[in-house]
Amino acid sequence: MKRAALALLGTLLGLVLVEGGMRAWLAATGKPHRARDAEAAAALVIAPMLGSIPKPRSPLEDERPWSGHILHPYYGFDEAVSTLRQLAFEARAQAEADAGEYRVLVLGGSVAGRFASSAGAHLAALLERDPRFAGRRVVWFNHGRGSFKQPQMLMLFGWLLQLGYRPHAVIEIDGFNEAAIGSSNREQGLHPLFPAFAPWAMLGNPGISEEDALEGLLEIHAERRRAEAIARTAVLRGHHHSALLSRWTLLRLARCRQRWFAATERCSEALAREQDLGTWRGPPFDPEPIACRIQVTRAWLEASRSMQALCRARGIHYLHVLQPTQHDPGSKPLAPAEIASGRLLDTWEEGVRLGYPMLRAAGAHLRGLGVNFLDASRVFERVHEPVYVDGCHFDRHGSRILAERIAEVFLASLPEPGSTR
């Protein structure tokens, strides 16, 4: 009995020592353990599996009955139902909003979503300094969504207006997904203007005939559920308060994500192998790469014109931003760490390399048509320190640089007092 008590005490003491040692080591390496950070890190790891942009409030806290991508009739797919609920809630909130609010709707892909999350406050502060915003508070409505590309944003915007959204301004940040995903769609036999291959092929496909694809789909689903269960249990039991348990949870989640990613790849490859030119692949298109790039560029330009037209009809200020991206030659002096972590699919890299010059030219044309267009593709041209965290997303510092440029152009193009509602 005494021995058992001693063993128990020893084990507990050992665990406390390991926990303490781990905390000391983390603090010494400049990354002290914080429960909040651990929670956010876990959210970041599982975010791609849930198909979401990590939100400031951890999604793990939510007791969500649904998860993952769901079909949407007007823009292909959306995140879990929480987003749909959020849409209705925000539309109602905007209808009842007070006059002291200046509502900015951010649209685009994951770069736009992350930008609004990480640099929204900075951009708001820059705008609020302008006398035209005196006494008004800038409020963000972040609708950047992973892998979204035109015309998805146009459709999403049209739908938000139908739901009753009434923003004062719209900032559309895009370019990368159009060039990169448009190119990989073509390669996989999906119409370049259709949504990204992986989510669309899994949701929009009326019948999967490839056995590997079906197996992959089952595996994707299983891994997502596993990761959700791990994350939820960790939060419920307070694992994030312990450095040791946080590490263990993160490792388990990372393993799930690795398996989920591998299954997604396998499933996508199997779907692309399907010989049948199913309706989900969209109408026939010219498979020549140049024809595809022309089509993507034209759709990007036309969608922006349409967004401008919808905004103009409602007195909404519209700004379209071409985002910077690592594989656009000459856009940034790359640090070795950026090169190491920035590898993308060949089709994406090629899409960016050949597509970006066309987007820049189309952007100049947009400006000629009266669209407030900001070419920010060279915004990191003189930034030597690393800002990219992977092949297309940038860190907080990069987002702040972009925010400053956006604030400048936004204010310069904003109509004079009396015109802002």
Partner: protein
């Protein structure tokens, strides 16, 4: 053991299955039934047919080429394809000559019937007869689709423009589907601005499942795949010529089908027990079904303003027509025949009754905001003979009447456009 004994053992080893096979064939040879590999294949197909008729199944290619199929579209909700012909084909849209005046017609099935038949034909005749169209050809492009309602037409127009399509005039004919199907949606707990319930519930519910529902759905897929695998290997194998093996395979498949039915039942039970807030139903519509006509009318007006804005950006004329419909009170002296053929769902009829006055009101607001809006809901108010052949579609005579009024509106819109100062035009 002597070689003779080995030979006997081997021969009996071979003879036993043969004897069994022959015995089994003799035993099962009752009535008209004769076992054959081809009859076994047919039976396998029969056993698997309920599994194949459920998701995920694709029509055989040759069959798909014959029929009009409804499928998911990322921007329109539901789209149609007839054989190998897509409803949107790039060739169809390219201008054939500079002298060509193209009219893009959007809306639901009433607009599609107008655009593909006597309505568009008469509209072309009337426009060509006008001196302003001298030397020009008029082409009507049919982009009406059965069941479409706003904002589907708005999304379609945005998508067509993104694809580079440039008509001279956009003609939107709508009204019935918005209020009838919008009301039907709301009573079935589907958002009234989502595509109509019937295709969307079938096509759009996949993926929008709770983890438990998705588990249940995938369990049915798993059983289906297992059965297909067994059926495929059996059908390829020469062993299917054996009645014993063939019957055993069919028996195995029947067991698999039973498991599939069990899984399917579990899925359906779960689906039935849903609270009605599944993601495929769209954002919560908290106002309740009674508020649907008002919500639909507001969205209809907004969508029309948005379509006008998209057209104006490109210097394209836009005319919006509110179509007539049988159950809109006072819209037509209905004949006995029309009343007989014009029955429809109560939810549709109620949607029309409550919604049409609201659409007319919203139409007036549209006109006040500068939209070329044409209220044709009373176009048949003094037509005594039958024009409706069901609750909402009308015959050639009805379409001719519509075409006459639309031609007048188009010519007036063109005149107004011409009178505008050049700098106001984009």
């Amino acid at each position: 053991m002597s070689s003779k004994r080995v030979a006997i053992a081997l021969a009996s080893l071979l003879a036993a299955p043969l004897a069994l096979e022959l015995g089994y064939r003799a035993w099962t040879r009752t009535g008209d039934y004769r076992y054959s590999a081809s009859s076994a294949r047919n039976e396998i197909a029969l056993v698997l047919s309920p599994l194949r008729n459920a998701r995920p199944v694709r029509l055989p290619r040759e069959e798909e080429a014959q029929v009009t199929v409804q499928f998911l579209h990322p921007y329109l909700g539901v789209e149609y394809k007839s054989g190998s012909r897509w409803t949107i084909s790039a060739e169809e849209f390219s201008k054939r000559s500079e002298a060509e005046y193209t009219v893009l017609i959007l809306g639901g099935s009433v607009s599609a019937i107008f655009a593909s038949g006597r309505g568009a034909q008469h509209l072309r005749e009337l426009l060509r007869a006008d001196p302003r169209f001298a030397g020009r050809t008029v082409r009507c492009i049919n982009q009406g689709r059965g069941g479409y309602k706003q904002p589907q037409q708005l999304m379609l127009l945005g998508y067509l423009f993104a694809r580079g399509i440039r008509p001279d005039l956009v003609l939107e004919i709508d009204g019935f589907n918005e209020v009838a199907l919008g009301n039907d949606n709301a009573t079935r707990r589907l958002h009234p601005l989502y595509p109509p319930f019937i295709p969307w519930a079938r096509l759009g519910s996949f993926g929008g499942a709770s983890p438990e529902l998705l588990d249940a759905q995938l369990a049915t897929w798993r059983e289906w795949r297992r059965a297909e695998r067994v059926a495929a290997s059996a059908s390829r194998s020469p062993l299917l010529h054996s009645a014993l093996i063939g019957r055993w395979t069919i028996r195995r498949l029947r067991c698999m089908r039973a498991r599939w039915i069990e899984a399917q039942r579990g899925y359906m039970d779960l689906l039935g027990s849903q609270a009605g807030d599944e993601p495929w139903r769209g954002p919560p519509f908290e106002e309740g079904p009674e508020a649907a006509p008002g919500r639909v009318a507001r969205a209809w007006k907004d969508a029309s303003l948005d379509m006008r804005a998209l057209c104006a950006e490109r210097g394209i004329a836009y005319v919006h027509v509110l179509q007539p419909t049988l159950h809109d009170e006072g819209s037509k002296p209905a004949t006995q025949e029309e009343l007989r053929v014009g029955t429809m769902l109560d939810t549709w009829r109620e949607g029309v009754r409550a919604g049409y006055p609201l659409l007319r009101e919203a139409g007036e607001e549209l006109r006040a905001q500068g939209v070329d809006f044409l209220d044709l809901s009373r176009a048949f108010s003094d037509v005594e003979q039958s024009v409706y052949y069901d609750g909402c579609h009308f015959d050639d005579r009805g379409n001719e009447i519509l075409a006459e009024r639309i031609a007048e509106a188009v010519l007036a819109a063109l005149e107004r456009e011409r009178a505008r100062p050049a700098e106001d035009r984009r």
